[in-house]
């Protein structure tokens, strides 16, 4: 599934949160959306998910414009995971997955839940309330929910934030494996540069609502004369807008 963002703008009264951004993600590729806090990443993702109405600009998913009339059709092919949103805490993992499977119109719900829980090691706490799980377990459940409908386009907002290195690595490895075996285009917003280097085919750097640079990881590090992506990020984040 191809995602195309064209001249996207979002203004909140006098503030321009997203300022005329354009980029594309080719089918089955992963794009890292990077930038300091408050640079407009979440607002951009919100617009791509149909949660925020753009002030101007267009979002195309497989050449279909994300407009109210196409919303349901496109949302059924997408999904999203973030540690900052949760599933109902009083419901068990199984109940939550069942409900979202139904909402996404998944066929053979039981089989799909079994498949997801085996892959993500959720089997032992399938009947436990989601609120009783650890952060790592909750993240895995959130990831299971985001893959329950076998999305063709997945948005991940800091999927491994606040996780210990072991669980973080498990999730990254799982995503790599999943991508290999399934048709999946991903947009990853993250502050973990090692994660971005490992998972992303290309990178878009944002600052103050604008795209200040884009390219592959190797291209960006070499262009900015830095050793790795972390240093490149710091250079761009600390610069005084010379990239605009």
């Amino acid at each position: 599934m191809k995602l195309k963002i064209k001249n996207l703008v979002k203004k909140f009264e006098s503030t321009t949160a997203v300022d005329n951004i354009s980029f594309e993600i080719e089918k089955n590729k992963t794009l890292g959306l990077l930038g300091p806090n408050g640079c407009g990443k979440t607002t951009s993702i919100g617009m791509m998910l149909g949660l925020i109405t753009p002030t101007s600009g267009k979002i195309f998913i497989n050449e279909i414009s994300l407009e109210p009339k196409n919303r349901i059709e496109l949302l059924s092919l997408m999904n999203f995971a973030s540690p900052y949103i949760e599933l109902p805490k009083k419901l068990t993992v199984k109940q939550n997955l069942e409900i979202y499977a139904r909402l996404y119109g998944v066929e053979k719900i039981s089989e799909r839940i079994t498949e997801m829980t085996e892959d993500l090691n959720l089997k032992t706490f399938l009947n436990k309330k989601t609120g009783e799980l650890s952060s790592g377990q909750k993240n895995r459940v959130s990831l299971a929910k985001s893959l329950i409908n076998k999305p063709k386009l997945l948005f991940l907002d800091e999927p491994t934030a606040s996780l210990d290195p072991d669980v973080g690595d498990f999730i990254r490895e799982y995503l790599e494996k999943y991508k290999k075996n399934n048709e999946l285009t991903m947009l990853l917003a993250s502050h973990n540069m090692t994660e971005v280097e490992r998972l992303c085919d290309s990178i878009v750097m944002m600052k103050q609502g604008q795209i200040v640079d884009q390219g592959t990881c190797a291209e960006l590090t070499s262009k900015h004369g830095r050793k790795n992506l972390e240093d490149t990020f710091l250079k761009i984040a600390r610069s005084k807008n010379e990239f605009k």
Partner: protein, 263 residues
Amino acid sequence: MNLNKIFALSLRHIYLIKGSFPRILDLIYWPTIQIFLWGFISKFFTLNSSFYENTVGIILSAAILYDFLFRSSISYNMMFLEEIWSRNFTNLFIAPIKVSEIIAALTFTAIFRTLIGLVPASIIAIPLFGVSIFKIGFPLIFLLVTLYIFGVTLGLLVTAGLVRFGPSFENIAWASLFFLAPLGCIYYPIEILPEWLQIIAKLLPLVHIFEEMRNILIYDIVDYYQILKAILISFIYFVMGIIVFYWSYDGAKDRGTLINIGE
């Protein structure tokens, strides 16, 4: 509308209620307390008021009907608030569901929460105070349907406020019905109100419902025109509630509040 999706949304609330005994107890507790309180007040008035002397339990019947309205509205609000409190809001709004399906699911599920609380309380009133709401007879169905439509409408307006203003609007959810109660003429005839307030009160379905309830219980007369008027007024408010909800939803998308409403 996709019935499977509406069922899935309802299932979330059914699981929630089913999995928590304190939650069920809470649903039953408040209506039962109301019945006890108004039961004793009703008994006192029945013994000491010439207006009520021939008809036992008018006040208690009014209390039960008013509680039905109150519970249906609160149930609607509570289910929506649950999504905000559990920070599930974003997950819900990025799922391929229509706003109309969310409204339908909340509307159908609110009836279960309402009945869980009110059926036991109404049954308790029969042996305890000798008052049965079922004495109203067949028109009771229409009165309950009208109250439910209006209760859901108030719920819709409050949820529209929650979408528009965020969780800070929560207090309005609790206060909304108390605001309308004096105009509803629940426990007294409309003539008690000053004339200018009577005009406003007649614009609400509550006056017509409770006046009709008194007509049936005191004079044993059923005025179906009055009932039809109440249903129509409720339905007009319901349509207005849906419009306001859509308007709030579009506004929230414009302001970007849907993405962080639970925070």
